[in-house]
């Protein structure tokens, strides 16, 4: 029987949540017995090869590409999980949400104390994904089934959640595994 497939991605995140997944240590060997990875930085598959049982999303949506990837995940995954505070509430990238976008650009490319940009140009190549007006948590863009908070979530949190879902058990985390920091 084919193993269930798991996909992961980092949207506006720092890869800390993926690091936490690697932090399950030798249990990673058990994990690859249980599942095959599909689209994920772990195997560097760029596109989905088929239907996935679980999609893990790190990071929120700060640009149009994040939104496209997130929608792609929703379309391909039976269960979608927001992993970490960035995916759940925008996290550190959302600190820009109380500052107008124009001011962010000006500070980043023109007026910041370490900026050297004599031409005064703000990057606008069509290759660059368009920034959204603010950073959105994933569940404000698509339906998300579960949230694993933390910055990043503990490795045990990720492990217990995956094991529960892959065994069709209800996802109930003990008190000590629900943490926001």
């Amino acid at each position: 029987m084919a193993k269930p497939r798991v996909a992961t991605t980092s949207l506006a995140g720092c890869f800390g949540c993926h690091m936490s997944l690697l932090d399950i240590d030798e249990r990673i060997l058990q994990l690859i017995e249980l599942v095959d990875f599909d689209k994920s930085p772990i195997d560097d598959f760029k596109n989905f090869t088929g239907r996935c049982a679980v999609g893990l999303i790190e990071g929120g949506c700060c640009n149009e590409e994040n939104v496209a990837v997130l929608r792609d995940f929703r379309a391909h995954c039976d269960v979608l999980i927001s992993v970490g505070d960035c995916a759940i509430m925008g996290g550190i990238p959302a600190l820009r949400n109380t500052i107008p976008l124009e001011e962010c650009y000006r500070e980043a490319y023109l007026e910041g104390p370490t900026v050297h940009n004599p031409a005064g140009r703000i990057p606008n190549d069509p290759e660059l994904p368009l920034l959204l007006n603010k950073v959105y948590p994933c569940h404000e863009v698509v339906k998300v089934d579960y949230h694993l908070p933390g910055c990043p979530p503990l490795a045990d949190t990720l492990w217990q959640a995956l094991v529960a879902l892959l065994n069709n058990q209800p996802l109930e985390l003990p008190y000590e595994l629900v943490k926001y920091d």
């Binding site: 910055c151 008190y175 926001y180």
Partner: protein
């Protein structure tokens, strides 16, 4: 001599004295009623409504409602806890609570209540309000992004410190914590040892240069849900 008043909380008979609130009577009987704006020793405020219980079927704030004979109080039930969850969700989205870099994380009562209720994400859209910070005082910081307007600092300053360092101004979504000086906290008589500073349940009023004094794993709510000490003191049998 004061007479005893008998009432029932979640099917358990408890006795109280006249004039006592439901919250304090419950606490004496070892029943924890979640609370946020209430702090023992301060006049009840009744503003956060986290302590909401159903009294004979009607919602009441337990920290302000006096006991009466024969009351049937529902506290730890799915319905009441659902109401509290919604209130907590609202407190999170109405402020800017970035727990990942908050010094109060692990010792924060708002966060601890969310942990207690198993909240993994609020159900309402985040508002990301524009708030200000006052770092003018040499020893104390006001981080309004995290202020939940509980008024504990306001009351503690007045009632315990004999000062009037803090107050609220504005209404509704524009209500905010202010100081009793023209502009800045530094211009008030607030001092770092004031009870008002320690009264803040969240990371809004902070002592400077203390930071992350307790390592992860040793903070107040790392292992036991908030309120555990109250229910642990319940009489056995």
């Amino acid at each position: 001599m004061s007479q005893k008043i008998e009432l029932t909380i979640d099917g358990r008979e408890i006795s109280a004295v006249p004039g006592q609130t439901i919250l304090s009577a419950a606490e004496e009987a070892g029943v924890y009623i979640p609370r946020l704006c209430h702090l023992k020793g301060l006049t009840p405020h009744g503003s956060c409504r986290i302590c909401t219980v159903l009294v004979n079927g009607r919602p009441q704030s337990a920290c302000t409602q006096p006991v009466a004979p024969g009351m049937l109080v529902e506290n730890d039930t799915p319905k009441v806890n659902g109401l509290r969850r919604n209130l907590l969700d609202m407190l999170f989205v109405e402020g800017n609570h970035f727990c990942m870099f908050c010094e109060k994380s692990g010792n924060c009562e708002l966060q601890a209540l969310a942990y207690r209720f198993g909240i993994t994400a609020p159900k309402y859209p985040y508002m990301f309000p524009q708030r200000t910070l006052d770092a003018s005082h040499p020893d104390i910081l006001i981080e309004r992004n995290r202020c939940i307007l509980c008024g504990r600092c306001v009351r503690a300053s007045q009632e315990l410190d004999g000062k009037h360092a803090f107050d609220f101004i504005g209404r509704g979504a524009h209500k905010r914590l202010h100081v009793n000086a023209e502009a800045r906290l530094a211009d008030t008589d607030a001092a770092v040892e004031d009870r008002a500073v320690a009264a803040c349940p969240v990371g809004s009023l902070l002592r400077k240069r203390v930071g992350y004094a307790l390592p992860v794993g040793r903070r107040a709510y790392d292992h036991q849900p908030i309120g555990s000490e109250i229910s642990a003191a319940a009489p056995q049998g």
